[in-house]
Amino acid sequence: MIKILFFAQLKETLDCCELELDGDGIAEVKDIIELLSQRGVVWAKALNAEKLMMAVNQDLAKANTQVNDGDEVAFFPPVTGG
């Protein structure tokens, strides 16, 4: 299984903070985006936003970052700390 997390505006937009996906057929982060985009127009739009940030196992990642079974993948808007 792959654990998926959402934060901040994205969490509110999707009304979802966490879900799990079967790892089958998932090789890169973009496979997750593609899979979740099938959940409807809200998901598709939010997960394909130009400035979307992502992390794999708590390290900043890109759409082509590799994902393995058991990984934790997070999606979030640009950070605004500091």
């Binding site: 934060f7 708590q58 390290d59 997070a74 950070v79 605004t80 500091g82």
Partner: protein, 140 residues
């Protein structure tokens, strides 16, 4: 190295002591304190809530600190970032750097803050006089 993510406030003087106590090598100490200001991106602020990605925040800050140490000659480094509900005027973030060299202390402090602003998973939701709003990223 001290890297902390906490709801509680921090005390500048205590953090300064941690940077200099028994440290006779470093002649330069630069501190940065970030506070909740009254007006931001055209909105009047009452307070804000800091959300973060708990499993990742410490790791992200430690990575930034390690990168700063690779680039400059640093003595002690402290990074503290608060989360949760904060009011107008409250302290948000502390970065303290000691070094033998003034220029290294300044450069590292600024690098840490700049990178924290783009790479560390914190999000500010402001309570404004016209309702709550997520702060927009100022990323270039």
């Amino acid at each position: 190295m001290v890297v902390v993510v906490q709801q509680a406030d921090f005390d500048l003087n205590q953090e300064y002591q941690t940077l200099i106590e028994g440290n006779q090598t470093d002649g330069a100490v630069v501190t940065f304190c970030g506070l909740v200001r009254d007006f931001n991106q055209g909105h009047e602020i009452i307070g804000l809530t800091l959300e973060h990605y708990p499993a990742m925040t410490l790791k992200a800050l430690e990575k930034i600190e390690a990168e700063a140490r690779e680039r400059w000659t640093l003595g002690r480094v402290t990074i503290i970032h608060r989360v949760g509900d904060l009011d107008l005027g409250d302290q948000i973030v502390f970065v303290g750097v000691s070094s033998r060299h003034r220029k290294d202390a300044y450069a590292a402090s600024q690098f840490i803050m700049d990178t924290l602003k783009t790479d560390a998973p914190f999000w500010k939701k402001e309570r404004t006089t016209t309702g709550p709003r997520w702060v927009e990223s100022e990323m270039r």
